[in-house]
């Protein structure tokens, strides 16, 4: 058992610096040599509604979270109400004692449906409907209340002229860290790492840290032990959005177009902040052309998603690596242009961050419900790749891969991700570039009548480019030259050429890039899953193993063309097969049935928009195995 395995939630109002608080925690622990992982949950709102960060700290790599948490930091009046079920025995509940008597009705930011559900639970247990009542509720579950007067502490530290609310986040983080036993020095360095070295900020925060740690020292009824400092490495702290951005840049992205949308746009904002850089090149290129050192990424905010994908598509036809990023609503608008990329065999990458649907749905919440749509988006039939990534380290590689696929096979690629992934914080090691390969189309001679759509055995034609070849593209069916034709024989040949590429793709992409079988070959239970749930599932496998249950995971990455044979092979030996996804209809299982003819009979699903946690996956597997339930719906998360 590891010495340290702490889950904490920091909750507070949107716009109240919850983000920074969590970053402080993660960075501080990283500097102290620990591993950490976190996810941000928030409303579609700019200021005031409840948001929270769920973070876990361990000595060993961590990429999942669990309930109940060990520490609940309540920076607002809503937190105790909405998180009161997230605690249990020994959870420390840090809250603002000045708010003790706040009634639930007074918490205006809370939605009436949530209020009703909380109220019902409080009343059912005979608790009061104030924060005090929730503390009682949590106490009954074994939690240890830890009241603090935020106001007093801030005023004590900074005097009466600084607004306490502005410091709630660093104070909360400091108190949390003190309660976890992290030496104050690391908290300070974490703060510096987040806010930089601006003098006034640093000074104020230093005082806050001090007052937080002193408070905990003087109110240490909890027997806190100082954590050992471990050997630290240089690490990057990256969200999923950022990992994709980085992977794209490394993979050669030169034109990114987007229209703002949550949770995709953070990637483009990140790129806008890092669009001008000096690449490192082989000596010869360096000498040849000094100016090339300053190549950059052009990031363009388009007027809408249709324009964004149109620009990316045509840009790609200049030989530029182009991409666009979006989420469900924007992706829906791209359906028509996707087909254009399909019929014109354009190597364009669309990064699709799934969020809660349908329609505007839950715009800031998680989902994996766009899979069938991604595979079928756009009228008519054309070859496309749909490729999934689940966590940050993998995503950097994959962002390079999808460009390679797009160009090698000359097809649009949809890189499908989800909000949990996008808003997760990971600590990652520096990259090993020797493992990263860039592969492009086979270059071809520029002939007189350049046949951009030459009929070939494997369906792949010479890549023609604007600025280089005389080519024509059209959304109409076309001849090898790219001119419109309605000739039936040519039509049939072109359909075979394009659709035939799906076989070429399955043949040429290495198997382990298509599907991974992770875990015991000879397992008692086999999970089928994709995307951001991998980390959680693998973490639960560790626990199952301690109980003598052997489990494995068929982790699918290539969603289209579907690796039917490989998946069939992996699934065929499953004793108990469970599909786990963040959607209602079990879309991956649908794909498996459609492609492999294998019917998955057990499901663990979640579609309330909140991140999946260890405890509920564990419980889900148990309910399938022990209680023979075949459809478990996970419902955790505030």
């Amino acid at each position: 058992m590891p010495l340290v395995d702490i889950d904490l939630i920091i909750g507070g109002p949107q716009g109240g610096g919850i983000d920074s608080a969590a970053q402080i925690v993660i960075r501080a622990f990283s500097i102290a040599g620990y591993e950490a992982f976190g996810i941000r949950e928030y409303y579609s709102n700019i200021k005031g509604r409840h948001s929270y960060f769920h973070v876990r700290v361990k000595e060993t790599p961590v990429r999942s979270l669990r309930y109940p948490v060990d520490l609940l930091v309540c920076l607002d009046a809503e937190s105790p109400f909405v998180h009161m079920e997230d605690v249990s025995d020994k959870t420390i509940v840090l809250y603002d004692e000045d708010l003790m008597n706040t009634k639930i009705e007074q918490v205006l930011t809370m939605e009436s449906e949530t209020k009703k559900h909380v109220l019902d639970k409080l009343k059912e247990g005979g608790f009061g409907t104030t924060i005090a009542g929730t503390i009682d509720f949590m106490k009954k579950r074994g939690a240890i209340p830890y009241p603090v007067s935020f106001r007093n502490l801030v005023v004590g530290a900074l005097g009466p002229n600084k607004p306490p609310a502005r410091y709630a986040n660093t104070l909360g983080a400091s108190l949390a860290m003190a309660l976890m036993g992290l030496p104050a020095e690391f908290t300070s360095r974490g703060i510096e790492s987040v806010f930089g070295k601006k003098k006034e900020v640093l000074e104020d925060n230093e005082k806050i840290v001090k007052s937080g740690y002193e408070f905990v020292k003087s109110h240490n009824n909890l027997n806190i032990k100082e954590l050992p400092v471990r050997e630290a490495k240089e690490r990057y702290i990256l969200t999923g959005n950022e990992a994709i951005g980085i992977g794209k840049v490394i993979g050669g992205l030169k034109l990114q177009t987007y229209y703002p949308i949550t949770p995709a746009a953070d990637e483009s904002f990140f790129l806008e902040g890092h669009d001008y850089f000096e690449p490192v090149m082989g000596e010869d290129i360096d000498k040849e052309n000094e100016v090339l050192k300053n190549a950059s990424v052009v990031v363009v905010q388009a007027e809408d998603e249709i324009a964004a994908i149109a620009m990316a598509i045509s840009g790609a036809m200049t030989g530029t690596r182009t991409a666009t990023g979006t989420s469900g609503p924007g992706f829906s608008l791209m359906a028509e242009a996707l087909g254009y990329a399909g019929i014109n065999e354009v190597p364009v990458v669309v990064t699709l961050y799934q969020r809660g649907g349908p329609s505007t749905g839950l715009p800031t919440r998680n989902s994996q419900a766009d899979l069938m749509f991604a595979i079928n988006a756009g009228h008519g039939e054309f070859a496309r790749i749909v490729y999934s990534s689940g966590d940050v380290p993998e995503a950097i590689d994959d962002a390079v891969r999808v460009f390679n696929y797009a160009e090698k096979f000359q097809v649009p690629v949809i890189h499908i991700l989800d909000k949990n992934f996008a808003n997760s914080f990971f600590l990652v090691d520096p990259l090993d570039y020797s493992k990263i390969k860039i592969e492009r189309w086979k270059l071809s001679e520029n002939t007189e009548n350049f046949e951009r759509f030459k009929l070939t055995e494997d369906g792949i034609s010479p890549m023609g480019m604007f600025g280089k070849n005389i080519i024509w593209l059209t959304g109409d069916e076309h001849s090898e030259l790219g001119h419109i034709t309605e000739d039936p024989e040519t039509r049939d040949a072109m359909m075979v050429k394009r659709m035939g590429k799906l076989n070429t793709i399955l043949k040429e992409i290495p198997e382990d890039e298509q599907v991974e079988l992770i875990g015991d070959k000879n397992a008692d239970v086999t999970l089928l899953s994709w995307g951001s749930n991998t980390g959680v599932i693998l973490s639960v496998f560790e626990k199952l193993r301690t109980e003598g249950v052997k489990a494995n995971l068929v982790y699918v990455k290539l969603m289209n063309p579907f690796p039917s044979k490989l998946v069939s092979k992996y699934l065929s030996t499953a004793k108990v097969l469970i599909d786990l996804e963040n959607n209602y209809t079990a879309q991956l299982a649908t794909l498996v049935k459609q492609n492999c003819g294998i019917e998955v009979k057990n499901f663990i699903l979640k579609y309330n928009g909140r991140h999946t946690t260890d405890d509920e996956v564990y419980e889900g597997i148990k309910r399938v195995l022990d209680k023979k339930e075949n459809r478990v719906v996970m419902i955790r998360g505030a």
Binding site: A232, E234, V280, A307, T322, P430, K437, T474
Partner: protein
Amino acid sequence: MAHNYRTDLWVDWCPGCGDFGILAALQQSMTEMNKKPEDFAIFSGIGCSAKTPHYINAPGMHTLHGRVIPFASGVKLANPNLTVIADGGDGDLLSIGAGHFVAAGRRNVDMTIIIHNNGVYGLTKGQASPTLARGEKTKGLQRPNILDSLNPVALALTVGYTFVARAFSFDVKNTKDIIMKAVKHRGTSVIDLLQPCPTYNDINTKEWYEQRVYYLDKDPSWDPVVKEATSEASEQKYLQAIQKSLEWGDKIPLGVLYQNDLVPSFGDRIADHITNYFEVPPALSPIINSEGQPVARMEKIFTDRLIKR
């Protein structure tokens, strides 16, 4: 012999279609520009007019209905060395594509947009396009047009186009000259190209236009060019052009209505920040070194995400 920019396809427009004149003017202007065919990129949307790129022997992209502007912009962004011309129908640019038409005014990408203004949706058999006046009943309509018409010139002026002209497709020579000027302009230029559709528009016919059109530059006092980079200077020329754009009846002015070379093009604006954008544009940036490895390096670019020990 100079490249004549013709392909050997049969041009499948109706006899007498105004598109023939536009095609000829385009081809002639391209020949006169004295570039290599590969230096061009010709775009179109969907409609009769949209077949244009196939008839021009230079790189071409026949895109989607309404989307010609963003497609054209994407190529120019990725490779600013290319000369980009975008042909669109009036339905294409001003109905389904009106959002992009508006946005293009804000960007000022260095390219030329040609509106094939025929008052109808040709390829879908003659419905009213946005330039057909309310109350008019062309051949293809069940009853008089119920929608008010848009004034493409006034619209272009108002959303910020930096070069706005009008031409008449049956006057190939002058149209060619106007196209050359438009292409030369650094920024988005737009030409409202009056293009009779003899098949469906029996109101705005060749003859109808011939009786009305005149060239603005016949009047030596006409000066559409903004001379100073001040808002007063551009506003004055803007108002003059707007006023001219209202002239649509017995007389229809042709030629350059507004020209402002003092607004930086989108490329120039990018280069403000990415200073070597024109020297090493996206399409010409190396992304791979001699060992097949990427040239971009995380440690150099994303330093702010590094947690130092």
